[in-house]
Symmetry: C2
Subunit: 472 residues, 2 copies
């Protein structure tokens, strides 16, 4: 089958009956081969046709994960870690079959070390749950990829999102991990010290490894004091270029904005339709400022001044929580509003990221490419980092649209690569971007990745078939 969203499962082998029996005996109802359960675990938020695993285990502890992996290793059966299923590039499809380890019931916050500004959680804790449980401490965890993803999944894909422009990505905010290796051993990748030069950076090796090197079962994260003051601002621009120039100058001046998001006029139109609002359907920037009262005011004034120089208008500024929420609602609902702009569609999201000086060129280039599309498209994203998403609303059953979407995606990625940018700022490679990764990293760098994979997972059981071809 040649449909670009139908990946092959030709390497799938049946689950050995003896392994299934062992797992069933050990996990009882937490072991499932039911079709609906398997189907749910063989898909993510991408438009790709699901490829279910052969079985699903719902784990409760690191030791249970280690047991499952050790047994799977004995049988050379693949293991695919599963958080909440919100990844976007086919990370979860069981292209080699095997056992999905669902970590969503590993949802305990293990240790809040408020006085150290750290927290340790089981991998299935979601970011919203974490922030709820932190409420009494005056601390928060800023990384916000939109979806209420699991923190293990966010670590595994090196996620980031709207706050990364100020607080960094999972790479900067994971202090250490507990990982089950491909042999079923349990390691901690680092101590809780804020910095360390003690040997190879295993933490950063597992962050972004997409389940291909081991199963992340616990995550220690950096926390931040909730800022004394927060404010939000929204401003419209005559053109995309004006909006983007405002962002570029904001970053170049070193204004420590907490969020700086772009929504195109098509996105605003979708939001107006979705939320019955009457926002001006123009290129729009959303800002959030964190700091002391004085510094937040200062930041907002600086940004307003920059915006004005680029034709910004309708500058709205809000400091009270309810007003901030109202202002930002549009941004928070953007993705869902976009998806609902076309009935029955699936959304494909590009994810390029370029050096900030190339952002205007990159995003106006993307706009030009999208203007040729035969289906609705939107542009939005984390422009303060040089990262944005083109959202392509296609009918996944229409082969022409699928092919066209992939072609447009290719063009947008190639444009970013030509600007020394990356094919993926925060979504990861999964199945979808394996070709782009080769272009981006080069064969010799991919060869190092292959060697690391073979060294840590000699029988290729950890989420096999993802990120790069192992045998090239």
């Amino acid at each position: 089958m040649n449909h670009p969203y139908a990946f092959t499962d030709a390497l799938k082998r049946p689950l050995p009956a003896s392994l299934a029996a062992r797992l069933r005996e050990r996990f009882g109802e937490r072991f499932s081969t039911a079709a609906a359960v398997r189907e749910h675990h063989g898909r993510d938020e991408s438009p790709f046709h699901p490829i279910p695993p052969d079985a699903v285990v719902f784990a409760h502890t690191t030791d249970e994960v280690a047991q499952v992996v050790a047994w799977c290793a004995e049988h050379a059966v693949p293991v695919i870690p599963f958080g909440i299923g919100s990844s976007l590039e086919g990370h979860l499809l069981a292209v080699h079959g095997g056992v999905s380890i669902d970590l969503s019931q590993m949802d305990r916050v293990l240790a809040i070390n408020a006085e150290d500004l750290t927290v340790t959680v089981q991998a299935g804790v979601t970011r919203k749950q974490l922030n709820d449980e932190l409420k009494a401490t005056g601390l928060f965890f800023p990384i916000d990829p939109g979806a209420n993803a699991s923190l293990g999944g966010m670590a595994a894909t090196r996620a980031s999102g709207t706050n990364a422009v100020r607080y960094g990505t999972m790479k900067e905010n994971v202090l250490g991990l507990t990982v089950v290796t491909a042999e079923g051993k349990v390691i901690r990748t680092a101590r809780r010290a804020k910095k360390s030069s003690a040997g190879y950076d295993l933490t950063r090796l597992f962050v972004g490894s997409e389940g291909t090197l081991g199963v992340i079962t616990e995550v220690t994260l950096r926390l931040y004091p909730i800022p004394e003051a927060m404010s939000a601002a929204v401003v419209n621009f005559p053109s995309l270029a004006d909006a983007v120039k405002t962002v570029i100058e904001t970053i170049q001046l070193g204004v420590p904005v907490a969020r700086s998001e772009y929504l195109c006029e098509h996105t605003i139109r979708a939001i107006n339709a979705h939320s019955q609002t009457t926002l001006r359907e123009a290129p729009t920037l959303f800002f959030e400022f964190h700091g002391t009262e004085a510094s937040v005011k200062e930041q907002a004034e600086l940004v307003q001044q920059l915006a004005r120089e680029h034709g910004g208008q309708d500058f709205e500024w809000a400091t009270r929580p309810e007003d901030r929420t109202r202002l930002w609602n549009a941004r928070h609902n953007a993705y869902f509003a976009c998806v609902q702009a076309r009935a029955g569609c699936r959304a494909i999201s590009t994810d390029t990221c370029v050096p900030i000086s190339r952002l205007a060129e990159s995003i106006t280039g993307a706009r030009r490419i999208l203007d040729t599309a035969s289906f609705p498209t939107m542009l939005l994203g984390h422009v303060g980092d040089g990262n944005f998403h083109a959202v392509l609303l296609i009918d996944p059953d229409n082969a022409h649209e699928v092919a066209e979407a992939e072609r447009l995606n290719d063009e947008i990625v190639r444009l970013a690569l030509a600007m020394d940018g990356t094919c993926t700022g925060e979504h990861g490679v999964g199945l979808h971007k394996m070709g782009f990764l080769v272009e981006e990293a080069g064969d010799d760098a991919i060869e190092l990745m292959r060697r690391i994979k073979r060294a840590l997972d000699p029988h290729n059981i950890m989420n096999p078939g993802k990120i790069f071809q192992l045998d090239a």
Copy 2:
């Protein structure tokens, strides 16, 4: 020989004559086997007895490094990258013999991308040279480990220093590297985008790998706008505990201090003797604040208030560059002043880092351990990160003092490990901390590091014998 600072070179084999001839023909006077040159390249700032390499090549380009490594690989001859020789844990000793590749003449700033807040340099560029060359841009590179180290060396040891509390370490500030692999291939570990989820994080794998996985030949770094305002503050305390509590609360409140350094009364005494100053010989904190005029003032006021609550006195605050320099001179001269406090001594520096809430316990514990010493000792360091250095001034030819120093060092490290801290916050492992690393990381994590090493350097030619025992 059993002297703890005399490492064995029993694995040294003579340099193959054919390799020496090839290198001499290719590099002419930039290839040296002179005793003085070899001796200089077989030592660092540690007190360890030098073990010279068999030859030194002064490289000018990445391609030259690749050529040297490829030839050494053919002969299975070790390669040791050399920056300026300021490492502290025996990183440069040629315990297996081989060729030292001196990168200090690779000192060109290759591309200042001011509008992207990035710069790409050859590995031999030092941090001071970089900041000199950046002067016209209004940008700076903040990482400051004290020594005027090469940026390649700083990446290789995951260095940090006084500014890390605000700007992070080399881990956070290296965007990408050009690396010569153990086969002599040249790879780039990442594009220039600020964030990426494209495959394994090869950048972070090489940062901190201490030359054991490849030779870093070019470094792309993040830059920052020079703050609109900077100010410095110095404040004395009745006790170590008072000073440290002030720092802990500063961090816990989220005050974005740019530097927060502790000097003990012994250090101040050494500085007074060295610089003919009359500073009060008391536990002292040095702060630096970066931001807008208003935010710098606000930060200083907050810190002053916290300091007062802990008995802080003589709060001095300076905003003019010359006054800031005068205030901070004591801190900048601290290490040299310490070393000169005892004629003919060598300084040994511990480097533990603990979660911030354990800092008081960790540093007062260290003080108690040091109080038993038969030689002068000082405490100073980057307390805002939970990282400090005990400086032990020993006569390296006195076996008793050496043994005593190693025992005190052991005790201080064990104390940090018991607090979920690390044996090395920023100096690296080298030869000296290989034992501690096993305690800290555990055998199973070390085994992953070994596998990565074997996978990327199958013939063990890249700075062999460092960080961990390869055959355990």
